[in-house]
């Protein structure tokens, strides 16, 4: 019996102790007509050896590709030490640290994480994780709504340069609560949020303005202007950033004259593998004055009975298991193990390492842009500086180009056509520090071939 240790002798003795004749009798309080489960449609159990082999073959189907897709999930080198330590049973197989004295390892690590993330964002406090970047933004908006609870109605401005899936997620989550999400257009030249579109809301009651950096197109937004606009409106400024980029770009705590109120985003770039989209984690940081509206678990440093430093879950009165219906969020299980990975990753890379990874990614993207600029029938869409992604525009269907690249085992990027039809046939391409100059050359060579192959078919 896989994972069940009972011998028949054990079972005999246990049944005798309980004073029943068989295990079935233990279910005698359940109405008979409910004992109807039927698993006969499921496969028989297999051994680890058999399944490992099957899954090796299964996984191999999707392996061995060069990846130029970004769009919210980024391939970076993860030092071996990170997951070697994360995978240690003591981290991996512990529950939430409810018994603080028996969980000082996890708790201290989370305290260290909170400190690192607050410093990276240049804000005062951080929680211990939310589900992912998109849901963290939804929680940030709900948080802004709670901070602005005196507002008559809740209108939140969302730039169209925000990741389209983030927009879908926040819609699914916050629209249950009578919050209006208003889309802000972007400038078609720069790919940045249009200041003029914002001006339409001057002097109106706005609960919050969401500010992505870099935005979905990889473009660097004018975050100072946006933040200052929000602050003059008394709107909460909510930054949603790539945390790795913050080693290079100005952090949210320094945007505009005052810095933002809340910064959140996807933690995946910091040591978390792509893994088909998850588990990742959402981070959420804010100014000190908002800490009691911060959702999710928070770790605090305290002392033990002898005055020795120790760590506990704190401010639990915000949480569902104490406050129930009045909690700041329903979140319980979070993404602790991924935060463990990020904490180790950030420690290994350090300030300079993180900056170098960001710089290398940026630099390699520039190299790619230079090479692509020489291709016929491919246009680099926006004029603004980018972090490590950019938009390429084609004259033929992106879908076909991607299929052509796939034959060379290259994943060419994310097809923007379905989500931004107004841009025509566009591709979002990402380059990180994992790509060498030869990789880029190979990519551009294949892209040229793909473009001309598709052109021939389409003409």
């Amino acid at each position: 019996m896989p994972f069940i240790p009972h011998t028949s002798e054990d079972i005999k003795q246990m049944l005798a102790t309980i004073n029943v004749v068989n295990i079935q009798q233990l279910f005698d309080e359940i109405p008979k007509d409910l004992l109807t489960a039927d698993l006969s449609s499921l496969p028989l159990g297999v051994t680890e050896m058999e399944l490992m082999r099957e899954m090796r073959e299964c996984a191999n189907q999707d392996a061995g590709l060069q990846c130029f897709i970004g769009a919210g999930a980024y391939e970076h080198h993860i030092p071996a030490a990170v997951w070697d330590i994360v995978g240690r049973g003591e981290f991996m197989t512990a529950y939430t640290p409810y018994q603080a004295e028996a969980s000082q390892g996890t708790l201290q690590l989370l305290y260290e994480y909170q400190t690192m993330m607050a410093r990276l964002m240049d804000l005062n406090v951080s929680n211990a994780s939310l589900y992912d970047g998109a849901s963290a933004l939804a929680e940030a908006i709900l948080m802004a709504v709670r901070i602005q609870r005196k507002h008559q109605s809740h209108r939140v401005l969302i730039p169209r340069t925000l990741h389209p899936y983030y927009r879908q997620v926040i819609h699914a989550i916050v629209s249950q609560q009578n919050i209006e999400l208003i889309e802000i257009a972007f400038n078609e030249k720069t790919g940045r949020t249009d200041q003029k579109a914002l001006a339409a809301f001057d002097k109106q009651e706005i609960t919050a303005l969401v500010i992505p950096q870099p935005n979905f197109f990889g473009v660097i937004e004018e975050v100072d202007l946006l933040t200052d606009w929000a602050k003059t409106q008394n709107a909460i400024a909510v930054a949603v950033v790539n945390p790795l980029a913050m080693a290079l770009l100005k952090p949210p705590g320094q945007w505009g004259k005052t810095g933002v109120d809340i910064a959140c985003g996807e933690g995946q770039p910091l040591g978390v593998p792509l893994s088909s989209g998850g588990p990742y984690y959402g981070f959420l940081t804010c100014k000190k004055e908002h800490v009691r509206q911060l959702p999710g678990r928070i770790i605090g440093r305290t002392v033990d009975a002898e005055g020795k430093q120790g760590f506990v879950l704190t401010l639990q009165a915000r949480e569902q298991h104490i406050r129930r219906a009045k909690a700041t969020s329903n979140i319980c299980t979070n993404q602790g193990l991924l935060v463990t990975a990020s904490t180790i990753y950030m420690s290994l890379l350090g300030p300079e390492g993180l900056r170098q990874v960001a710089l290398a990614s940026h630099h390699q993207l520039r190299l790619l842009k230079e090479k692509v600029a020489q291709l016929a029938d491919v246009k680099i869409l926006f004029s603004s500086p980018c972090f490590h992604e950019c938009v390429l525009q084609f004259k033929t269907p992106v879908k076909k180009i991607l299929q052509a690249l796939a034959t060379y085992r290259i994943q060419g990027g994310f097809n923007l056509q379905p989500v931004y039809p107004e841009l025509g046939e566009c591709l979002l391409v990402c380059v990180t520090e994992t790509k060498t100059s030869e990789d880029l050359e190979q990519f551009v060579r294949r892209l040229r071939e793909a473009v001309s192959a598709v052109r021939e078919v389409c003409v």
Binding site: H6, G89, A102, Y165, G300, H321, T340
Partner: protein, 483 residues
């Protein structure tokens, strides 16, 4: 040894093997957008990092090191092979936005898990995207809301929950815009049916239940309750946190539930990671199928494809950027495959055997079960209210003292309605010998309570820290390290 990583930091120290070495240029980015000073992350060597975090890890209890009978949390063995399979390169380096042709491996696994979950829940369809139980609850309640709206039934603004419910239930209902009404529990641990009858009406959107309940007993009148709710036009939500108790025996769909979540990190043995990640797939009956969150995986003659908003126009939408905690979905699938149809129902059987055995031993030793007349499900509650009075100790003291003996404490003070309670869930993967040792220690601790209560009141004594000051932590907030 308890130094913070920041205290190890030395200016300009670095782990050079990890840092791209070249001199990169970012002159194309105007200075106003650039960070002026480096973020104050720790500056340490690779050895510092390995040593620090390895040492930290050792300051944890975990399944891999300790018995962990944390009620409601199903802390069972997390098979190492499952973890290894999820770390296969083809899974680990797979981008979520890869073309479908480059995603068939992952999608095959996800699809098969959908099918398996349908079979064990007795539901019509499954979406795997919710990232934990609470998000599954949110998705479920959002579907209930969408259902009523689709029928233009706008008056239904109330969700019922038992007073014993887990805090996520009311919190999720509120996050979906509902009011919450609590229903009392009867003295036998079943819900008070009269109170339920009195509560339902045209404002009832639905009820959230778990069965067996958080009290560790099977809600016997579930069919009647389901009739009452359905008759009132409401729907039934099943909180799958306790699915381990009935896996392969009873199907929520057959009990009358319309929607449920499954905690993969409980029933399906994905490791809890010191707080997460988990997985909270939702399963629904006929009526709610159109509203399931996207994406889902569909099987076609040409392979697997994603179902998105375009295919499911009535969906409540997308709950995560991509498709939820994909790696957890893989792990749950592998676990289910290792067990297979002959193994899955044994989970419930042996989880129940273990709970009832431990209950019988403790009862025989003089402990007070919360519900004397009832069978335990996969977990059970003992109340220490008598001991608390007699010896001036608390359930917390007993919990802390257990740590000294190398056992993680059971869940304390939940559900709230049982005073000084411990909710004990041994799970099926623990042996009789471990349960015996645990019972012996609990008995010994009661002996200590009699002869030397201070030993409990000041516990733990053998851990890296003594009892921690929660009050100070909340009053004098110290949430980030200030140098």
């Amino acid at each position: 040894m308890t130094q913070l990583i920041f205290e190890l930091s030395q200016q300009h120290r670095r782990a050079a093997s990890q840092i791209p070495a070249a001199n990169y240029d970012c002159s194309d980015i105007p200075a106003e957008f650039l960070r002026k000073t480096l973020p104050r992350l720790p500056e340490v060597s690779e050895l510092d990092v390995v040593r620090h975090f390895t040492q930290l890890s050792q300051r944890n209890f975990s399944i891999d090191t300790h018995f962990y009978p944390l009620g409601s949390c199903t802390m069972k063995y997390n098979p190492r092979g499952v973890h290894r399979m999820a770390m296969l390169e083809g899974f680990l380096q797979h981008h979520p936005l890869s073309l479908e042709v480059h995603s068939q491996g992952f999608m095959a696994c996800a699809y098969e898990l959908q099918e398996m979950l349908k079979a064990v829940t007795g539901m019509r369809a499954v979406s795997l995207t919710p990232m934990a139980g609470a998000q599954g609850e949110f998705a479920g309640v959002a579907m209930i809301r969408a259902y009523h709206r689709a029928r233009a039934d706008h008056a239904r603004d109330e969700i019922l929950v038992p007073d014993a419910a887990h805090g996520t239930n009311p919190a999720s209902a509120v996050q979906c815009g509902f009011k919450v009404r609590e229903i009392a529990t009867g003295s036998d641990g079943n819900m008070d049916i009269d109170a339920l009858r009195a509560a339902v009406g045209p404002h009832t959107a639905g009820i959230m239940l778990t069965n067996p309940s958080t009290l560790g007993v099977f809600e016997q009148k579930i069919r009647e309750m389901s009739k009452i709710i359905h008759a009132a036009g409401g729907l039934l939500y099943y909180d799958g946190a306790n699915l381990n108790a009935i896996l392969g025996k009873v199907r929520p769909g057959d009990m009358g539930f319309d929607v449920m979540h499954i905690n993969l990190h409980k029933t399906f043995a994905t490791p809890h990671g010191g707080g997460g990640p988990g997985g909270g797939p939702v399963a629904v009956g006929e009526r709610l199928v159109p509203f399931l969150p996207v994406p889902m995986v569909q099987k076609t003659a040409d392979g697997f494809r994603w179902l998105t908003e375009t295919d499911c126009p009535e969906t409540i939408g997308r709950l995560s950027t991509f498709m939820g905690n994909a790696g957890i979905i893989l792990r749950a699938y592998f676990y289910a495959r290792l067990l297979g149809r002959e193994g899955l129902h044994r989970v419930a059987e042996f989880a129940t055997l273990n709970a009832n055995y431990l209950l019988a031993k403790l009862t025989a030793a003089g402990f007070t079960p919360a519900y004397v007349t009832r069978r335990a499900s996969h977990e059970f509650i003992i109340t220490l209210k008598n001991e608390a009075k007699t010896f001036h100790i608390t359930a917390l003291d007993v919990a802390k003292r257990l740590l000294d003996y190398g056992f993680h404490a059971p869940t304390m003070y939940f559900p709230l309605l049982i005073p000084e309670c411990l909710l004990i869930e041994p799970t099926e993967t623990e042996s009789k010998q471990t349960l015996d040792a645990f019972a012996d220690v609990l008995i010994k601790i009661m002996q200590e309570a009699k002869t030397n209560p201070a030993l409990l009141q000041t516990a733990p004594h053998t851990l890296p820290v003594k009892r921690l000051d929660d009050v100070k932590a909340a009053r004098e907030l110290d949430l980030v390290y200030i140098q």
